[in-house]
Subunit: 352 residues, 2 copies
């Protein structure tokens, strides 16, 4: 995150300290909100005067994705709902092997929300988008009655351009082959533990910050190596266990991973023990899995580490196997194999 655009909310907060139902009603107050809060933040690209943004794409193959964000609390160490709403959708675009270009944003605001809170979130979105190089080009605001929301829910949809040659194999689970290496881009569990600590008011010896970060640069670096990128998947809700179970089921191949190769920070591990959480199931917001031919894995690891934040290291954590089709097997520290199922029930709701 770079510096905020401005300290002061440009909308007169003395007059409108809180969001009113009328801010979503299509009349004067909604126009004031667009003109005096959204446009100063997002710029004129977020065209208030049109029903839709008009885009000229530098190609005809594109990726299109959407995610809603309902994280609780709205602000947490390492980010807020706004940074999450931009990076999360950018990451989904990146996982399709595309270069993220444009975002839409739909706000559902709760009547009574502090206007300053909205301003902070909106600024965070714009700062994050600028740093990534995506444009927020169209948007919408609805306001729901007090008690019928939870401050702010955000939906972002994203458009990216696929730059790989059409003759290259597509980056999907269906390209995964037995023998492929499974590479994890960094350590696990920071986002979930940061949210949980913020929500429960827990204090640990050191503050654990969310790993929330855009992944498009790592993906572009991977693409630039020219290796056979079989599949990419960000490790979010449901954690690594659910992500790899999904891929195992989609391919009907086995996934075998080594516990000793999966990094979890000591303070995250400690927090997980206190909270009764398993790092394999915790959501992350800046980690992904790349599946590539084993021989090309070292090149992939190097490329992924080029854009990793300091202290975050990509590693080969396992391999795709023809045995145990549809299953994820963890070879644990004790040397025995354990079947790791997809998350059942809900470990930690409203993490993103």
């Amino acid at each position: 995150m770079t510096q905020p655009l401005s300290i002061t909310c440009p909308l007169p907060v003395q007059r409108y300290p809180q969001v009113l139902l009328a801010h979503g009603g299509g009349g004067k107050l909604m126009h004031q909100l667009i003109q005096e809060l959204f446009l100063p933040a997002f710029g004129s690209a977020a065209g208030s005067a049109h029903d839709a943004a008009t885009l000229v794409l530098p190609g005809q193959r594109m990726a299109f994705t959407t995610d809603s964000y309902v994280v609780k609390p709205l602000f947490f160490p390492g980010g807020n709902i706004g940074t999450l709403a931009v990076t999360g959708t950018v990451n989904d675009l990146a996982m399709a092997g595309s270069r993220p270009l444009y975002l839409s944003v739909g706000f559902i605001l709760e009547e009574g929300l502090a206007m300053e809170t909205l301003w902070q979130v909106v600024q965070a979105m714009q700062t994050t988008a600028t740093a990534i190089g995506v444009k927020i080009v169209t948007g919408d605001t609805k306001v729901v009655d007090r008690g019928k929301g939870d401050g702010i829910y955000i939906n972002t949809a994203g458009v990216g351009i696929i730059t790989t040659a059409p003759e290259q194999p597509p980056i999907t689970p269906l390209s995964i082959q037995p023998g492929d290496a499974i590479i994890l881009s960094g350590d696990l569990g920071r986002h979930g533990v940061a949210i949980m600590a913020a929500r429960e008011g827990l204090e640990f010896e050191t503050t654990i910050e969310s790993d929330c970060a855009p992944l498009h640069r790592s993906v572009q670096a991977l693409l630039a190596t020219g290796i056979d990128l079989h599949c990419l998947r960000d490790v979010t809700r449901g954690g690594l266990a659910s992500t790899l179970n999904e891929l195992a089921q989609a391919t009907q191949l086995g996934m075998r991973i080594e516990e000793t190769e999966i990094e979890v920070l000591d303070q995250v591990q400690g927090a997980c023990e206190i909270l009764g959480l398993d790092p394999l199931y915790i959501a992350n917001e800046g980690r992904f899995v790349a599946i590539v031919p084993l021989a090309q894995a070292p090149v992939a690891v190097t490329a992924m580490n080029q854009h990793n934040p300091p202290g975050v290291t990509a590693r080969i954590i396992g391999q795709v196997t023809p045995e145990r089709p549809g299953q994820l097997i963890l070879h644990n520290r004790l040397g025995t194999d354990r079947l790791v199922d997809m998350m059942s029930g809900e470990q930690l709701p409203r993490i993103c």
Copy 2:
């Protein structure tokens, strides 16, 4: 609306009669929801196995838009939140002069929502999308705690292709000229009154149904005439008064309309009088304004009426003037002029 796809919800509702927090958690239940409810409705195009949909566009100029839907109640005469979420976003794409192609859908569900209710909404979305010819290609589901939502909120984002020649003037408020005709596609107020009646349990002599309908065919018919289409705008939140005020302000031209040319059904007028609502400010979901050179207006009216539902008639309701820049003037039945301001405050919240 055509027939529903299936009477029975394919997900075992005996076992999961309600939405649980875990249905948004990224684990087994979320996958079951996707596999057994969303995919049977939306088809495999709504690829569960990928983070983003991959699209090949038949051109490089596209329109991109988003809207969230928080209408209350979820079901109302003439539609429901699902039909609204598809038609509303399709209409925004149409207003940019584009042919709607793809939609994303983001659900924010409240814990405890009846699974059957979700199924009905999802079916309505697919039926509406099929009738229009748009594909729902990517989606997301979040679940919020009981009391922190209001059953279902939906965001749809849409992508459409702009088929007009690049040398043609763009369809935006900036193309509006003094002297242009203002054409309204039909009568006003049905949607708002239908919602209000459903919400308040009011009974009128005849049921007033929402005008909720897709407008893309009318727009395509307008484009096919080859006339100079200066601006299109759907008449939604804030009603005709707010729509024309926006255009007057954006162009710094005057908008002068004739009250006698603006049609309001008798039962809508009656309901408005009982409810204390002004039809000029009521939201519609199947009406739009076209602004074209006066000489070409009759051709435009004929084209718009080709795809109007039975009993709905487009009319020239007024003209753009160099006088009264930035203002909307209503020439009323008594022969006097009245300044009509943009809606101030909130006439009817959560109408869409």
